[in-house]
Every structure is written in C-alpha cells, then in structure tokens.
C-alpha cells in the first residue's frame, strides 16, 4: 500500500481519537478539523478530487466554524467541568465501550469474510464535467431536494439558535431596526 495512504490514515485515526478524548472542547474541535483535512487528503489520494475539495470547503470551511461558534456560545457552564470519565457515569462509560466493542466485533469479521470484487490498477478518473452531468442528469431531483433540506434546516437552526425574546437580545441591537430602545414601554 502506498506510503501516502498509511500516513493519512494514521493522521486521521490519531487526531480523531485525540479529539474524542481531549477534555478541552476547542482542542477536540480543532483536532477533528485535522481529521477532516486528513480525510480530504484520503479522498484526493483515492482520485476523487472534487469530493476532496468539497469536503475541505464544507467541513473545514463551514462546519468547523459552526462547531466553534457553538462551543464559544455555550461557554458559561454552571456546573461541573468537562471531565472525561465523571465518577457518576462509570457504568455508562463501560456500557458504551461494550456496545462499541460489540459493533466492532460485528463489522471487522464481516469485512474480512465478505467476498469483495476488487479491481487492480489505477482508480477510475472522475472529471468535474462528468460529475456535472451526473448531478444535472439522473441526480437532478436529489440536488433540488438537498437544496431544500439545506434551506429549511438552516432557517430552522437560525430560528432555534437566535434569541427571539426581548430580554435575550443584547442592549444595542433591537432587532436591527435601529429603533431607539428608550421608548420600550410604547406598545410595539
């Protein structure tokens, strides 16, 4: 197997496990970004350039920002610091790990046993034009549906996250209307 694949795989696994273990949320988020970059590299290595770059744009550009903003917005913790294995939850940790073990126990042997039709030699080439034709052709409906999903979910997310009630709103911004908050008592 090529050196690049092993390197990238190593990067992904290490950063992923570090991300999941680390106590500092920001660190785990940034480590996960590294995992995503590793994955993008893997896609490039596999020859799917377009997917690699879109993974870079969407995850590294977009999702990471959302995660980091979420982490920052939820900083004012009232209760216990982020401990990896809280004493109250030991049972949960063990049960969780057991479940994961069982799933792994299912996947790995299944993979080994499964008769996989392999194709030697260089991987298929995939040009952007080909992807364009596929997206605009058989998968056009899917593209439209994904468009709708994105719009709806983002508007929903906005509605959920944005502080709607008056007291949540920061002082200087009264809904961006520029109205002076002085006369708050007049019926809106």
């Amino acid at each position: 197997m090529s050196l690049a694949f092993l390197a990238l795989a190593l990067v992904c696994v290490v950063t992923a496990s570090a991300a999941m273990i680390s106590r500092n949320l920001i660190h785990s988020a940034l480590l996960l970004v590294l995992t995503w970059i590793g994955l993008a590299g893997l896609y490039l290595w596999a020859g799917a350039d377009f997917v690699g770059f879109s993974q870079a744009i969407v995850y590294v550009g977009g999702v990471s920002m959302v995660v980091l903003f979420a982490v920052l917005l939820t900083r004012r913790q009232r209760d216990e610091p982020l401990v990896l294995i809280p004493e109250a939850g030991v049972g949960r940790v063990v049960a969780g790990l057991a479940a994961t073990f069982w799933v792994a126990a299912l996947l790995v042997p299944a993979m080994v046993v499964a008769p996989l039709v392999q194709r030697a030699g260089p991987g298929p080439t995939l040009t952007v034009k080909r992807i364009g034709e596929l997206l605009a052709g058989p998968h056009l409906v899917a593209v439209l549906v994904v468009g709708v999903i994105l719009t709806v979910s983002l508007i929903g997310a906005l509605y959920l996250a944005a502080p709607v009630t008056a007291e949540d709103q920061p002082e200087w911004d009264n809904g961006g209307t520029g109205r002076d908050r002085g006369n708050q008592e007049e019926p809106s």
Partner: protein
C-alpha cells in the same frame, strides 16, 4: 329566404327567450314583457314563414336535423327537428294567431296589474306549441306537450284570486294529465318497440315504413296489432288535450281564463295539438289498415269517438247561457269533426278544417271578448242583446265568423273544410254513423250560432252593461278584421278543383275533380244549414226576449230536454259520482294502511330496539365490565413498569440500538438464517 332544418330550433327558442322577460321581470313590469312577447312572436312568425317557404320548395321531402341529447352506457338518446309542410303550415298558423291575440290582449288586459306576467305565460305557451310542432321525436313532442299543458294551467288560472278560475285550471290540468298518462304509456311502448325516439331517421325512425310494417305484423295475445294498441294509447292523449268525449269536461270550464287565452289556446292552437299529433303519427295509426285479421282498427276508434264528440258538443252548445261556453262546446264539436276526419282516413281534410277552424273560432272568441269588454264583463246571453247597432265592426266580424263556422256555401272557408270532411266521411266503408252524426252536427251548429247571434246582437239590450256598450278600441278591432278576412279567404286554398293546400300537405298528388262531382253533398249540407238557421230564427228571432229573467224559448217548448242540456247531461256529476268517489275510497284505504299497518310495524321495531338496548346495558354493566376492569388495571400496572425503561437519556437509547444492531448483524451473518 328559407330556413334549413338545422335552424328549426330557433322558432321555439325566440318566444321562449321572450317569455323570460315576462316570467322573471319584477311583478309590476309592463312595457318590457309586452314588448318582449310581441317581438318574440313577430320573430317566430318571420322564421315560420321562412320555414314554410323552405318546406314548400319540395313538399314531399321531410328535412330532419337530429342531435344526441345524452348517452347512457352504449346507447345514445337522439332527438331532432323535422321540417315538412304540415309543420310549416301549423307554425305559421300558431305564430300568426298568437301575434293577433297578443295585440288584442294588450288592449283587453290594459287595466290588469299583472299583464307582464300574462305575456310571459303567453310567450311560454307559444314557444312550447312551436316546439311541439317542429320536433322529429315523440319524446321531445311529449315534453312540449307537457309544457303546453302547464302554460294552459297558468293561463286558465291567471286570475287565481277567483276560486272558480283556480278550480278550472286544476280541472283542466288533471283531465289532460289523465290523457297524457295514456300518451306516456304509448310513447314508452313505441320507443321500446322501435328502439328509436325519432319519427323519421332514415328508415330506422318510429314512423318509417319498415318499422311500421314490423309493428303492425307483431300481434298481441288478444290478436290486436301492436301498432293499433300504441295508436289508441296515443289517441287517448290526444283526446285528453283536444277535449274528446270522455275527457272534454275541462274545456267549457277553461273559459274562466281571460278571453284572449280562450281564443288562442282553447280555440285555435292547444286543443288542435291533439289533432296535430294524430296527423303527425297518422302512418302509425293507419299501419293496421291493410290487415284484415286484426279485429279492431285504431282509426275506427278515432272515428267513433270523433263522431260522438261532434254530436255531443253540438247538442250541449244549444242550451248554454254563457257566450264563451257556447263557443267552447262549439269548439268541442268541431274538434270531434276533425277527429272524425282522421278516423275516416283523411288527415289532410282534418288539418284543412283545423286551420280554417283556428281562424274563425279565434275570431268568434275575440269578438266575444270585445263584447265582454264593451259590456263591462257581462257574459250572460240573457243580459245582452241589441249590440249590433252599437258595436258595428264587432257585429260585422262576428257575423262573418258565424257564417264560416256554420259553413254558409261557397264564400266562407268553413264550408269547404267541413265539405271535405263530410265527403271523406261519406266515402268511409266501415259504417255510415259518422257521416250521419256529421250531418246532424251541421244542423245543430247552424241552430246554436244563429241563437247566439240573435241573443247577443239583436233584440233589446236586456242588461245595463249592454245598454251602455260602445265599440271597443282600434287595437281590438284590428285583429278582428284580419281574422275575418282569413275566415273568409282561407277556404279558397283547399277547393276541390284547386286543392293547393291538400297537395302541399299530402306532399304528393291530390285527386283534382270538378265542382260537379261532390255537388250533391254540397246541396244537402247547404239545405241543412238553412234548416238550422230557420229553426234558430223560429225560436229566438221571431219573438225577441225583452226581459233578462224570461224563460228561454227553447225551454218553453221542450222543458225537460232543455233542462238536461243546460245541466250538461250531468256528466260532471256522473264523473264525480263514479271516478271521484272511487278515488276518495282508495285514498281512505291507503290512509288506513299507512297509519295502522306500516306505522304499526315501525312503532313495533322502535320499541323492540329499545328493550334490546336496556337488556344489553344490564348485561354489560355488571356482567362484563367487572371482568375487563381488573384486566386493564393489570395492564396499566405493567405499562408503568415498562415506562421506567424510557429514561430520557439519549445515550442509553443509542446503546440499545448499537447492541441490537450487533446482535442482528451477528445473527444474519453467522446465524445461518439464510
């Protein structure tokens, strides 16, 4: 300009559209409905003339234009319009007389607040009548037939505030309805037998030769030909509408309606519808003529009924004291004549007489109307008299009408048309009864008409209405004059030596023979007319009654007979006694059944259901529930226990999912569950 068959529907459509103004206009509207009606009639007249011109181009051909009304399943019901000389002449007749009557009634009903509605009904009637005339389908004819019946009910009962008028309208409607029942059965039977609702459909129509041959050849159990049975049933409908013997009682009472209505509907057009129907379906009626084996021929029935009606009508007309009732009974008798003519096989003579009769009977009725209007609604002969001097034009036109009705020789149209009927009756091989009845009828007609003229126009004005009467306004006199001209002139269209009308109607050749050939019959009938006039003068002309309450001269000579005739041979009472009581009894039986038999059953069912309900509740309450309650209690307990498993902690759920996935996976892969 000729009107093609496909545009025939315009003729009934225009007055129908005009009727909308009258029917849906606000109650007090005047000018709009009147103008609408008149315009509708003028348009219909124009179209009818065009249609007639079209038909006369080639009288033999029957131009039809059919359309599919609606389809149910595989079959489509096709109706259509038919244009032939018969329809053409009848359309012109109806629209012309309708127009004249409409003009007359604008003056006659000028004080009536609901004149707008009157003209609405009038247009509706004319539309229905025209629809009936130009249709090529018996079903469409039946539809228009019903509409005409409705219009006549509305018009008879126009002054509905008078109970007599309302009763008369109901009576007219019910009796014609009885006739229509026969018509309906005949219609359905014909449709079932021939499979087509059309008269002439290129050979497949009900009246086309092949189907008629088939009909007349199929025999009923009693040996009757199917066509005979259907013919007679249709004749029952025609009898109802045209006031033939058993069903004529409604016509005299229909005089309760305004006089123009009587003129148009109960003289010229509607009552003629029955005769027109017979003329239209004549091939069907005559289909069984040739078959000797058939015990009874439809046409013989028609002829017998026609003769009886002609005689009865004439006899009853003699003893009536109301001017319009005399004319009503005269119409009944004349219709009898027409049916008699059809019965003896000459539908052309019947139609000829129908046309001439329509004109002079309309003239007589309008004349009577003019008299009634002038004498402030005085209709009783006993209180009229001496109007000749005051109402010159009315008297002159009325005299001409009377001449035409009686059949004064050579000059008047009535003479020629009645002559044609008598000629046909004379030649009838089956029996001479109709011919004899016809002759007696001629005498009686002459008698009661002279009585009428003498009583109304001569002698001394016996009522104060008659005393102050003046000639009626120009709008009433105009139509009278036109009708008078027609009453005189129309006869010349059907002379034996120049049968213009007959050849057109027959669509083929009509035997032309000189005046000499039927001259004998003419001399006899003229003699009879003179005899009648003489008798009339004898009783009523010689000694003029001066006092309204004086006894009728005829009553003085034959009191019993006169009393019987005045009482209209108590036919109404007879009907009431027989049919009336029978129905009453039938109604009582139905009421009994309804209340006790069905009512009882429903009552019983209701009560049993109630008891069953109570029993059920009892069993359910203490029987089953106890059982259910504790089991459900048991269930709720276990339910609560399981609820605890739902901890609300997302991750515990995920764990279960993961383990479940693993277990299922393992089973699928290695459990051998292939």
């Amino acid at each position: 300009m000729t009107l093609s068959a496909s545009l025939l529907w315009l003729i009934p459509a225009t007055p129908l559209a005009a009727s909308v103004f009258g029917l849906f206009a606000p109650r007090t509207a005047r000018t709009l409905p009147i103008a609408g009606a008149l315009l509708g009639l003028v348009a219909a007249l124009g179209l009818s003339v065009a249609a007639l011109a079209g038909a006369l181009v080639d009288p033999a051909v029957r131009a039809t234009s059919d359309f599919a009304w609606f389809t149910f399943g595989a079959q489509t019901l096709r109706l259509g319009w038919l244009l032939d000389p018969l329809a053409g002449f009848m359309c012109v007749l109806v629209t012309l007389i309708g127009l004249l009557v409409a003009l007359f009634s604008t003056a006659y009903l000028r004080h009536d607040p609901r004149i707008g509605r009157f003209f609405g009904f009038l247009s509706l009637f004319v539309a229905a009548m025209l629809g009936l005339l130009v249709t090529n389908s018996l079903l469409l004819l039946f539809i228009c037939w019903e509409l005409v019946g409705l219009a006549s009910y509305l018009l008879i009962g126009f002054w509905y505030e008078r109970p007599a008028a309302a009763a008369a309208a109901k009576k007219a409607f019910i009796t014609t309805r009885i006739g229509d029942l026969g018509f309906l059965i005949g219609l359905v039977w014909l449709h079932q037998a021939t499979g087509s609702a059309l008269f002439h459909d290129g050979g497949a129509g009900a009246l086309d030769a092949p189907t008629l041959a088939r009909l007349s050849s199929t025999l009923l159990p009693g040996g009757w030909a199917v066509s005979t049975a259907i013919g007679l049933l249709l004749f029952v409908g025609a009898a109802g509408k045209s006031g033939q013997f058993p069903l004529h009682v409604w016509l005299p009472d229909a005089m309760e309606g305004p006089t123009p209505v009587s003129a148009l509907i109960h003289a010229a057009t509607m009552v003629a519808a029955g005769v027109f129907l017979m003329a239209r379906v004549f091939p069907l009626m005559a289909a069984d003529q040739g078959l000797a084996t058939v015990p009874f021929h439809a046409l013989t029935g028609v002829a017998v009924i026609g003769a009886v009606t002609a005689l009865l009508g004439a006899v009853l007309a003699v003893a009536q004291n109301d001017i319009k009732r005399v004319l009503a009974y005269s119409t009944v008798s004349q219709l009898g004549y027409m049916m008699l003519a059809i019965g003896v096989g000459s539908w052309v003579a019947a139609v000829f007489h129908l046309i001439t009769h329509a004109f002079f009977k309309a003239l007589l009725f309008l004349g009577a109307g003019s008299v009634i209007d002038a004498t402030h609604h005085e209709q009783d002969l006993r209180r009229l008299g001496g109007l000749a001097g005051r109402m010159r034009v009315t008297f002159a036109t009325f005299a001409l009408g009377t001449g035409a009705l009686m059949g004064l020789p050579f000059v008047f149209s009535g003479f020629w048309s009645k002559e044609a009927i008598l000629h046909a009756a004379e030649g009838w091989t089956v029996s001479h009864l109709p011919f004899a009845a016809g002759l007696v009828g001629v005498v009686l007609t002459a008698f009661y008409m002279t009585r009428l003229v003498l009583e109304v126009f001569f002698g001394k004005a016996r009522g104060e209405g008659a005393a102050h009467a003046e000639e009626s306004p120009g709008l009433m006199r105009g139509p009278l004059v036109v009708l008078a001209v027609a009453a005189v002139g129309l006869g010349w269209l059907g002379l034996p030596n120049w049968p213009w009308l007959q050849t057109r109607l027959q669509g083929g050749d009509w035997p032309v023979h000189g005046l000499g050939e039927g001259f004998g019959l003419m001399v006899v009938s003229t003699a009879l007319v003179l005899l009648g006039i003489g008798a009339g003068w004898w009783w009523y002309g010689r000694v003029k009654r001066t006092d309204a309450r004086a006894l009728d001269p005829l009553a003085r000579s034959w009191p019993a007979v006169h009393a019987a005739l005045a009482g209209r041979l108590w036919l109404d009472e007879l009907y009431a006694a027989t049919v009336g009581r029978a129905f009453a009894m039938l109604a009582r039986v139905a009421a009994f059944f309804d209340r006790w038999v069905w009512g009882g059953a429903v009552e019983a069912a209701g009560r049993t259901a109630e008891t069953v309900g109570q029993v059920n509740r009892a069993v359910d309450e203490d029987g089953l529930n106890a059982g259910f309650d504790n089991t459900s209690e048991h269930l709720r307990g276990s339910g609560r226990r399981y609820a605890k498993a739902q901890t609300g902690d997302a991750q515990s759920y995920l764990r279960v999912v993961a383990i479940g996935l693993a277990v299922v996976g393992v089973l699928l892969l290695w459990g051998g569950v292939r």
